[in-house]
Symmetry: D2
Subunit: 165 residues, 4 copies
């Protein structure tokens, strides 16, 4: 079994022409998608199942019940966006994520909070967080706490570095 990750998950994507609008910046409506992509990739990396495989394997998914975003700096085609995902809270069935998007030079582009809840496909009712995710969830909560304040740090390089001693 591999060691649990020592750094927050960071998702990379390039901003492209198709993301951008006539004001020559990434369209507002694309930003929630950037954040959701990062959270989906977090699920694959940290829980071991992407959303598609969760439905196939566990017969359930994680619909979102809340999102909020603050936009700090616009993005342009060609920009490399790094989105960090930190698991802030876990309830009986819910997960609350903090997502922070930055340019490669550390410029803050957006901060967001996203909350989802496990739901059973058959009953359409909320379900407890699957047992197989429990250890990873506890680890990610601890990691997010340890890295707290990362969001306001000037340099995303810190996201991949070891925690404080």
């Amino acid at each position: 079994m591999p060691d649990p990750p020592a750094a927050l998950f960071v998702h990379r994507r390039k901003i492209i022409w198709a993301d951008s609008d006539p004001a020559r910046i990434a369209y507002t409506g694309r930003f929630p998608n950037f954040a959701l992509e990062a959270i989906e990739a977090w699920c694959a990396d940290r829980l071991g199942l992407d959303w598609f495989r969760m439905h196939q394997t566990l017969g359930g998914g994680t619909p979102f019940v809340h999102m909020s975003m603050d936009f700090r700096a616009s993005l342009r085609p060609g920009d490399e966006l790094l989105t960090s995902v930190a698991l802030r809270r876990a309830g009986r069935s819910s997960l609350e994520f903090s997502v922070i998007g930055r340019l490669a030079d550390g410029t803050l582009s957006f901060e967001g909070k996203f909350v989802c809840a496990f739901v059973d496909d058959a009953t359409h009712r909320s379900a407890p967080i699957p047992e197989q995710f429990r250890a990873a969830v506890m680890h990610e909560l601890a990691l997010a706490k340890e890295k707290e304040g990362w969001g306001s740090a000037p340099n995303p390089a810190g996201a991949s570095g070891p925690g404080p001693p």
Copy 2:
């Protein structure tokens, strides 16, 4: 000059296959787009200029600085979505909207808050709300106040009806 509108603006759109995901409901990342479409249509209808014409005519736009959404009920292909747009606050350069999405039968699908700010294209700095929008902005603020609580009313029909006596 036409009478100012007596009801909140309501934007209609059909949920289609392309909006929907493997869980057979509209994808979370589409909802902010539904809200933004409704706000853009509000601008065209209530301010007289859509975002494209604002840039062409006024040399500026209204980038968003904040969005938040709570998801109450999922949407499926074929659903008719009615999104009401209420102008809750206006600052020197900012507008705060309350958007509420409902099915034709009144079922609440989502509630959101979106905040944008007028920005000059040349200077990239915030600019006061254009003078030509002032009367409409005051009217819409009054209308939103009068209709307050509409969001929690069981029937969207009220959105187009007259205000309380």
Copy 3:
């Protein structure tokens, strides 16, 4: 039972900010979506089932095997796009559509050919066109033949008018 339609199906949609790119025109990648939306609406209107209901009711769908498009004039936010859908050919399991997009003033924006085939959800194999669609398919083929050349006519108004004597 209502009379069968006397005119080709025409789908309307407004081009919005979100459809548009930094060249200030609708993005190329949006055009196939405009055509597909029109074909999905054709299915709902002319066959009586949209794609979602086809899967639910018939246990199958109509994946596309081919698309081709020629782009004649760009589209801008605020443009009203009218897309006509003509059923050109029907095989054992396939349907070939001609789609033509025009502005309200008749300007040709795009012409396309789209081919889909009925596929059974359980077996993932092609299936004959469902019996319940046969009469409508025959009618639409005849209508498309009768209206042939409409694509090159200067005015989309003809799309809704009666056929030639």
Copy 4:
């Protein structure tokens, strides 16, 4: 100056939840976007300027005049898509691309032809291929010719290998 590339350009992307529809496969309307993304990345890699920088630097762009696609195998969330881009023809102002999408195991997903033309932003008229792209265009045409038939080869690994002796 670096050596010119010895292999066709291949663009990689992961198919995600947001690309996928209620039939649990990537939505037809996403495929042209996969191809366009690959062509945009080709421009950045092989011509040295992405579409955004072309407009900024050269005052022009490359709107598309034609696209056609044949769909061979569906894609699912989690699939790794490799799209090769070959420049088949160059006219005075036009470029014709052959794009081929494959899974990592070599399975053919789609084949397409995309044609664009250089257009001057100021005059909205077609313009000759910029002089600075000429050498790269000639090289890519030769590379595409040399690799002809790659599209039907069983293994995409060949895309990055050296040409035949």
